[in-house]
Symmetry: C2
Subunit: 546 residues, 2 copies
């Protein structure tokens, strides 16, 4: 069996290695356009910030090493430009010699990945303008930054890579501005979480301009700034992080089925619409495990799982890929942010009776050094109590919370399945009531009417208009609010009428919740707790982690 794999980063090398493991007799050849294979694409921003000091850290395998480890052949510098599905041949140009080459296959795997989108606008070809997609991009950027003693950078695009590059440039001492056309950065998060992250970035000295259109790059011999619809931003370095586009243009003539965004349509066995042509990685659209709908998940983690399934399918094993939950995580200055499952908006669009709750808590025993806050937003279906999504942001271990959430959602868990979860507790690792269990308790309280609360989004949308604000903190900080201390509340409160619409606010909503229950007992009918007050005034940011 002759397997030809076009593209040799994550999905391609994984597929090749696994095929050779299953069937040593298979003749596996990877041809790839670039000169590097199997590189750490997700690590590139950290090379820019010198977190990864040496470029050797970015390259997982060389072609020679890979051949030795796996037995699969690799030819670099081969730019595939045509696939003849009937003749089962792929045509490629040897990038170094210019020669045209033809490769036969019995099975062909498209794992050509995706490339950075470079807009057609003046200045994009100037020195000082960089992408962030291959090791060379990162190496070139760091070199340029050092050699030119760059002071100012603009990162165009506030996705994960953009924000990672921005903070690594900031770490290197540059003045950094992130611009994005959308009204928020990291738009795969719910808007209030994105907005929170924007405030964190700003507080850490990274400027963020949303709803901002890049018009051109200023400069004659080199980049000197970015012209936007809001004015000129000076910049010695411009990083284009505007998204990626699947490298599938060379397949257009084949009639292969593609999604509107140019990714390949595949089934759950990674088969394309053309017989004996398979695909995996950033160039395919897989599907969402929860919704069953197509979803593009250009992630190293998915690429590896897809490659593993694909290799088995090619070797005749009946494997199916279940798809993604849209799980993602990003390290920001001071906090981490992560998500899994449906967003609030997506859940509503799917017709669920959506309820959300945001809970702020510690990730470890409060008295244990290094404990830090996490804010967990759960999205659930009010009817079935099914957990639909989780988003988390905080200085603490959001990765753990999201991995629990992803596992639970994968298994179709209801909130009741999770309220008694026996998770690992000791003071250096968690709180006696685990943060995820606490978050589940809170949303169950809300569903059951025990807690009546307002989400940050509702608050931001003006839902608190007409409410009297009560500051439930022991030491009040909210100007103009009535200060009510829970432990001194043993009857009706002076200044509050039983029918008043009252918004109860404190740092983590815990005291506010307790006060709500007490006020209810004393006949107050319209109290509402504000969830996650930290989303508005940052009062809970953990000083310890700064």
């Amino acid at each position: 069996m002759k397997v030809l794999i076009i593209g040799g980063v994550a999905a391609g090398t994984k597929t090749a290695a696994k095929i050779k493991r299953i069937n040593r007799d298979a003749d596996v050849l990877i041809i790839t356009k670039g000169m590097d294979i199997s590189y750490a694409g997700c690590g590139l921003p950290y090379y820019v910030g010198n977190v990864i000091a040496d470029k050797s850290g970015l390259i997982v395998n060389t072609p020679e090493k890979f051949k030795g480890l796996t037995g699969a052949d690799v030819l670099v510098g081969r730019d595939a430009y045509k696939l003849d599905a009937k003749a089962k041949k792929v045509y490629a140009k040897n990038v170094n010699t210019g020669a045209e080459e033809v490769y036969d296959y019995d099975k062909c795997v498209i794992s050509t990945g995706a490339s950075s989108i470079v807009p057609k606008m003046p200045g994009v070809q100037l020195p000082g303008v960089f992408k962030m997609r291959t090791p060379d991009d990162a190496i070139d950027l760091r070199e340029y930054m050092v050699n030119t003693n760059a002071k100012k950078a603009v990162v165009a695009g506030g996705g994960f890579i953009g924000l990672e590059v921005a903070q690594n440039l900031k770490k290197q001492g540059l003045d950094v501005t992130v611009i994005d056309l959308a009204d928020h950065v990291i738009t795969n998060f719910d808007p209030e979480i994105s907005e929170y992250c924007e405030r964190v970035l700003k507080r850490n000295g990274i400027k963020v301009l949303v709803s901002t259109k890049m018009e051109s790059i200023a400069g004659t011999d080199k980049a000197e700034g970015v012209k936007t619809d809001k004015g000129l931003l000076e910049a010695d370095i411009v990083v284009l992080s505007l998204g990626i586009r699947a490298n599938t243009a060379f397949l257009k003539d084949t009639g292969i089925e593609m999604m509107p965004n140019g990714t390949l349509k595949i089934d759950d066995q990674m088969k394309t619409s053309i017989p004996d042509v398979y695909a995996a990685g950033d160039c395919v659209t897989t599907r969402n495990f929860q919704t069953g709908k197509p979803q593009w998940a250009p992630m190293g983690s998915a690429a590896n799982m897809e490659g593993r399934v694909l290799a088995q399918v090619i070797c005749g094993i009946d494997k199916h890929y279940k798809g993604v939950l849209g799980t993602a995580i990003v390290k920001l200055p001071e906090v981490n942010a992560a998500r899994t499952g449906l967003s609030e908006k997506a859940a509503k669009e799917m017709g669920y009776d959506v309820v959300t709750a945001l809970t702020v808590t510690d990730d470890k025993a409060h008295y244990y050094p290094g404990s830090a806050f996490v804010s967990i937003k759960l999205t659930a279906d009010r009817k079935t109590h099914k957990l639909l999504g989780m988003q988390a942001v905080g200085a603490g271990e959001v990765d753990k919370m999201i991995d629990i959430g992803a596992t639970a959602i994968s298994m179709g868990a209801t909130l009741e399945n999770l309220e008694d979860l026996d998770l690992a507790y000791a003071p250096p690792f968690s709180t006696a009531i685990h943060p995820v269990v606490l978050a589940v308790n809170v949303i169950l309280n809300k569903i059951n009417g025990v807690l009546v609360s307002m989400t940050p989004s509702e608050f931001l949308a003006g839902a608190a208009k007409g409410y009297k604000i009560v500051d439930a903190q022991n030491v009040p900080t909210i100007q103009g609010a009535l200060h009510v201390v829970l432990s001194e509340t043993n009857g009706p409160v002076e200044g509050l009428e039983k029918d008043d619409k009252i918004l109860l606010v404190c740092k983590r909503a815990r005291l506010a919740y307790l006060l709500q229950l007490r006020l209810k007992a004393f006949g107050y009918k319209n109290t509402v707790v504000l969830e996650g007050a930290s989303f508005f005034n940052d009062v809970v940011v953990d000083e310890k982690k700064k």
Copy 2:
């Protein structure tokens, strides 16, 4: 409704607080023997090590503060000595005044917890002998240690608390020996994991003597040593951490149903065998969620969940507690160790067709600073592919791995449910192939016959006898083994016959696995990979975390 709660640490205070939240009109009174309520029992060892500097860090709430927050009354220093179930009265002695007091109830909650077991042997009452159960124990120990300038300590009992105290004493500069009657410390782990932890402790300067019987404590005016069946161990400080016993002796006359270990038998609504008497926390035996069998889980995390269920039940809400998985975690010097679900032994006893696999991997991208190793042992049923248990040890984030495992086991996950899990990946948080997914792949490979391997336990039991040992590392370290380099293996290997019994060994079993596949392709019939070689020579201990 008059609710009397006997005992005010975790379960008692949780129950009281939650009842008052649901029903402010309930008359809730906690009586408790000690002078502290709601303290951080799990934090005590860290006070000894000055990780928690101030004793105020140990006390979560005072009675006054608690009353203010919850509305529940607390009387400290009340030693309940009798319960009259017919008259619905509890008799207690006022510890301070000596007065006998009587308390009525409509509903009574037993949350008296458990006390340290103090063996009847000479010397246990000497100064310098301590327990580790209450804040006073920790405060007294630290004070004594500092005041007497103690140099040597013996910790009797190698459970979690014993090991935590040992390393905190070591941190304070003492020479520390842990002794245990059993043949291993932390016996809730599989033996090879316990043994590994023992080696880690020893390497970090903590002596460990297992299968050692304490006979008496030596000394006249103060503790000077521990006499054991293996000789005298000098000690200025002796910590008794021999386990705990439920504080239920005062209920013996009531005829209340108890387990053989003196804990109270309860149903999943926390009801005891006596009408209107409930119980929660360390003094009850709950049940195992997987097996349905009774299981004692004296943990702060379970106590809180039990209290939450119990409060709702008392308030007329139909709630049931699902029980525990035996999840537990402990921080050791250099590594962390955690477990959930069935042990290998328990799984076998339940009749499962047990398969286990140990996988050693990084917890973060290998090139990202701070990445550290984790060894994950999965236990599964060969027939149904159901995940039954997970144990993990390593310098990396074992808490995350175990929490994923606990969630999966709770939901009844099969390995196939987990092999495509979309968990959070970015270099600062995880590896592209998540450690848990990798561990699942490995055990599936083993079940499917793709990987033929030997577990550390099998190796320790002598299963490798008669095998030729092949060192598959790139740089060989195993004396007397044949060195075989994967990338140079393209045919039969000199020195190995096709029928030889061959044990393939490398640090993390990855190269050994790849070599096995290659040797198979070249006709070798009896190769076996050794899982987790790090369990024998510690080659993979992460230098970065030291």
